[in-house]
């Protein structure tokens, strides 16, 4: 590779012009090295980005979780229940739990409200005497049917699927409700 040194010809002729073979070879090798570098980077990036987005691609089943027998929920009463999320990992510990408010509306008719305020997701608490759900964060208030009574929440409390099966009240697991731009 001594083409630069050789042939000290006239100055306005660049030395590379005299060696088109060498030039195109170097150019080619540079492109190959860039391409290989890109390939190497992509080969590493795929599993790393994969680890990042993997939870989005998981297909979580909706499962029914028993939260008690119907007679544990008197008619007209709203009660806090706790159930396990669908398919939690072994090291989730207590973070695998979700809470929900179960209301026995009429005989055999149940409604299950999310505890997540639709404003920013804080846990609402049921004030039994006032018959209101109240959020501690920014003062969101909901009526017993989950509709907004006061404060900033843009929409009613979301509901979980519920059924009575095998003598048990069962709640369908679901993703944590996220309020969208269009909801606000």
């Amino acid at each position: 590779m001594n083409q630069e040194k050789s042939e000290p010809t006239s100055e306005n002729t660049p030395p590379v012009a005299k060696h088109p073979d060498h030039d195109s070879r170097r150019d080619f090798m540079m492109k190959v090295s860039l391409g290989l570098g890109g390939l190497a980077a992509a080969a590493v990036a795929v599993p790393v980005v994969g680890a990042l987005v993997a939870p989005l691609l998981e297909d979580k089943p909706e499962v029914w979780r028993s939260v008690g027998t119907p007679d544990q929920f008197p008619v007209g009463v709203t009660k806090l229940v706790k159930f396990e999320n669908a398919d939690p990992k072994a090291w989730a510990g207590s973070t695998a739990h979700t809470a929900a408010w179960v209301r026995h509306e009429a005989d055999g008719q149940f409604v299950v409200f999310s505890v997540n305020c639709t404003h920013l997701g804080c846990p609402v608490r049921w004030e039994a005497d006032a018959e209101l759900f109240m959020c501690p964060c920014h003062g969101g208030v909901y009526y017993r049917d989950g509709t907004v009574a006061a404060g900033p929440p843009p929409k009613p409390l979301p509901r979980y699927a519920v059924r009575v099966a095998q003598g048990q009240v069962q709640v369908g697991t679901a993703p944590i409700p996220i309020t969208k731009f269009s909801d606000g």
Binding site: S94, L120, P123, G184
Partner: protein, 463 residues
Amino acid sequence: MKRFLRNVGDWLEDRTGVMSAIRPILNHLVPPGAKWAYVFGSATLFCFILQVVTGIGLALLYQPSSDAAYQSLKFITDQAMFGRVLRGIHFFGASGMILFVGVHMIRVYIMAAYKYPREMNWITGVFLLFLTIIMGFTGQLLRWDSNGVWSSVVAAQNLGRIPLIGTTLARLLLGGDTIGAQSLSRFFAYHVFLFPALIFGLIGFHLFLVIRNGISEPPKAGRPVDPKTYRKWYEAMLKREGVPFWPDAAWRDAMFGALVIIAIVGLAITVGPPALTQPPDPSLIKTTPAPDWYMLPIFALFALVPPRTESYLIFFGPVLAVGALLALPFLSGTGERSPIRRPWAVFGVVCVVIFVGALLVAGEIAPWSPRFDTKPVTNFVSYHNPQLERGAMLFYKKGCQYCHMINGEGGIKGPDLSVIGRTWTPDQLDVQIVNGGGNMPAYGGSLKQDELRAIVAFLSVQK
């Protein structure tokens, strides 16, 4: 011995050349006026180094796992040797870093040091500001008590308001559909690896730019920045009157940095780290999530803006703020630097400081939140009339008192009702309670007739 050390030093210098590489940086000339106003950037850097060091200490004791993190935090706080102080330093170090990054930014803006040729110094600084805030927030999540869990839900909800990709981003943040095993591992990876790496890189770039473009001289009214002549003028000024950074200017940075660190350690020992709240069980809902002080102004803003504008604020607010900060050096990259000639800039800074400070105070008071811990009025006043007694009790039990104060007891979300009987007739009270309105729930559907009468009677005698 001395000779031996000198020989070792000479050998190292000959083989590595470290000193000859560093010396020009240490001794580079800086404007003689770069005095105490210039210590806040280095104070931020000292806080960052403190965070790295104490972060390593905490990582020796911490379990980054959703099920065990809380126990390990209890261990760090209550049992590990100096663990409480270590947590305290890391907390006050974070507070200091956020405080000084803010003060540094205000100093640079007031003195207009972002103007030509230091536009990129400002832009890298803006990114460092946001990375610092992100570090503060992710660090608060790593505490992984109920506050950490619910703060991550709140963060996910904020991301969820971004159009189109919001829900995806929210799930990405939580590491799945719900809080769970993957949530904390992610926050840990972001807080300990990803964002610190970005900060290291950006600090290096930021400091490189400080050396390359030179420390800005204190501004003087009537000496505007002109890109055609500035660099030449700056070089000549340095040659004429510049002083070496080390030791003429650097001792102030070193002294202020040392005092800051001593103050942080002092606060860590005397005040200690924030107390842990309940365990990270999302089914424990008797909790009042509130962020650390540096996020409180934003938390307060979300409570105070009209709900209908909120989605726009959550999405466009940060976009506009980042856009304005990045655009600043291009919109006013030349001209006067002196704050005396830029009164509107100073006025703007004062407004922003008052605005953020007021939101911080409002966030501490949280007047919009119901006071669940209020005590019934009947604890303090006894009524002979049974209907008044019942009205007072119902006023508490029906939740009125969470938001309304009577004789100094109760919430402050709604109006104080201590003297409501003077101006409101029973009929007016009746209508308001049944129909609600003005951000008050309608109680018509839940109060019985006699309960309503008792509450109205109770309120009518508040004179």
